[in-house]
Symmetry: C2
Subunit: 377 residues, 2 copies
DNA sequence: TTGTACGCGTTATCAT
DNA sequence: ATGATAACGCGTACAA
């Protein structure tokens, strides 16, 4: 029935000390007599004091300055990632988080380093980037962290770099899952799996490939793995490398595409002659074309990394680090398998039905108009 | 470079009106001259004003009072759900959310209604409950909402009840996915699928069963569906009903268990004579025994509903409704397929590596000791 | 070592 | 129709 939770003042009164003393105890600032500490701790326990985060944030009145560096180019997944970030901007501003979204050429460690240099000079609290297996990147990350800037790797880790955290799926596990799926779909028959990657310098691509290889070779010895196609996540390159393979040899029974450029793969699949059985196809990330292909039955499964969850976790983590708090323990992001049946709905429908508590009162309308306005911008 | 975002005072100054007038415009309180409204709107646009939610929350100094009603009993999934909620309590208190966790017999609409009556008298802002297909429950939900209490159904919806929202997976889709998996694993061979449910009055169970039936009958006509076992989510009941079936007939090639009581199923599976091939097994929800079974190869796949995500969404949604805001559009929760390979790690490991920004400063230690203390309780 | 007082941006109330 | 101002709880600068 208590409608008001205890405050630091309540604790001070209960402990018979001043507000400032309680603050010193609570925030470990030191310089407090031992017996005062004990009395304060006791009062906190008795009253069940819990720090009010809204008040704490307000009193500091700090605007966090974060940046996200996302590869540009035709890769639809990164376009989607960028769109999710853009859509979050206003919401984040309401929590006093100022997010810059930067573009950068994919698979280019030098360009990434340059951008990081510029960013660190403009003064930011943290940055999220897509990791590369590249010594100069690891070096630059170390520099940033020495300068007190939080660094997160997103989607793909940066091996040997002292980043604060990696936010993304375990890509080896994703590859193993793909291997399991492909194996299952062969139903004991022989076959040959064709892997497609963007670049082997991208740790996520390399790890997915390795995971698939592990599972297939150990659990499905009747399956063979063809030489890897390297497509730089560009659909033209993928298409051009793939066409001759499907034209000249008919032994490919499965395709595992770990990265982007799948528009090229799909064009090839859709143009296969009727007589030629289409291979089992597993690819990554629900982007529009992949979704269509799954709905049309041109491919069999998509492994997704839930970019919305990744971004939410990354922002929460950046904030915790900037606050010098222990990061919230978020659940690890798991590679998620989608078939035609459990493909998520297009428009991010939620299951919320309109009702009396929403959209009715004056303040309800106020919120609505504000929100609509924000979305327009 | 701006380290301070514009405030309502800034807007007032820019618009040449008082603080209170700006507040009236921003919060649609009315009673403002049209020309003032226009000037304020213009100033807001020019300055890029965004409401500071920390300040807003602080000024209201409201503690939300929510309740969650979770079935008791041996069902491990609900035990897990309860544990997740318990673990969130202190965190929630820091955001001034007071969460009560209540227990109730499973599949018992009357008991649920009684509990809801008691709760509504103690004064709460919102409640989350596991829905039942039951007229008196629908009736009671309507009463609560008329009294201004937000009502969410969690895990299982309540058909025809005017709840504010349903937070959970689409259970028909989950069933369809199970059907697809079972079909794939048969590799074109004939077979007979044995479904196990807790109760058909539970909408989630009924829908999963129906979804599986749809996919199997339409896509895999060589598969037959055996009469449904009703086990009330109790492992002894499940075991007792299952033993004779596996003893007397050897034609079951797959089992789909939509609910709880799987300890009984697993005992039966583990004690099958060596000569008898174990069936393909798909079940729901990663609870310890199911995890072990998947690791041991006793079952083939688990369909999970990510209870942590469900709870996070439910709380966020309750808060929005209590605030009379438009609920955040959260991504729909999707049934997630796990094989042995992509089973999430046990201890909720995150990918965070310790580093300089965390656990070092004085305030870092303060946070740490507080958090550890909270966990002990 | 301990205590006081002000600022943060919003909401709500009271006065004009 | 408009304006002034007191909370709200925490962090912190400064005084004792």
């Amino acid at each position: 029935m208590q409608s008001r939770l205890p405050t630091l003042s309540d604790v001070a009164r209960c402990a018979g000390v001043s507000y400032a003393t309680v603050d010193r105890v609570v925030n470990d600032r030191g310089g407090v007599a031992e017996k005062s500490v004990i009395r304060v701790r006791k009062a906190i326990d008795e009253l069940g004091y819990v720090r009010n985060v809204a008040a704490a944030n307000l009193s500091q009145n700090k605007t966090y300055r974060f940046a996200a560096i996302i590869p540009t180019g035709t890769n639809q997944f990164f376009q989607q990632l960028r769109a999710i970030l853009e859509a979050e901007r206003i919401r984040l501003l309401a929590d006093r988080i100022d997010l810059r979204i930067e573009g950068i050429a994919a698979f280019d460690g030098e360009a990434l380093c340059e951008r990081l240099d510029i960013l660190s000079q403009t003064g930011i609290d943290g940055v999220a980037l897509v990791g590369t297996d590249d010594d100069i990147v690891a070096q630059k990350i170390a520099e940033l962290r020495s300068a007190g800037i939080a660094v997160l790797t997103l989607v793909s880790d940066a091996p040997n770099a002292p980043r604060d955290a990696y936010i993304g799926i375990d890509n080896r596990v994703a590859g193993q899952t793909a291997g399991r799926l492909i194996g299952l779909c062969h139903g004991g028959a022989c076959g040959r799996v064709l892997p497609i990657v963007g670049a082997l310098s991208a740790p996520d691509h390399a790890e997915r490939l390795e995971g698939m290889r592990e599972t297939v070779t150990s659990l499905y010895p009747d399956l063979d793995i063809a030489p890897v196609i390297i497509g730089r996540d560009e659909h033209e390159i993928v298409e051009n490398k793939l066409r001759p393979i499907f034209k000249n040899s008919h032994d490919i029974t499965a395709v595992y595409s770990v990265g982007g450029g799948n528009a090229g793969l799909l064009r090839v699949l859709r143009s296969l002659p009727d007589g030629q059985n289409r291979p089992i196809v597993v690819l990554h990330d629900i982007v529009p074309q992949a979704r269509e292909a799954l709905e049309d039955g041109v491919i069999d499964a998509i492994i997704d990394q839930r970019p919305e969850v990744e971004i939410a976790n990354a922002l929460s983590c950046l904030r915790s680090i900037a606050d010098r708090r222990i990061p919230d323990v978020t659940d690890p992001i798991l590679p998620t398998v989608y078939f035609k049946e459990n493909l998520p709905p297009h428009g991010r429908d939620s299951f919320v039905r309109p009702g009396h508590a929403v959209n009715r009162t004056a303040s309800g309308h106020a919120s609505k108009s504000r929100i609509l306005k924000e979305i327009d911008q």
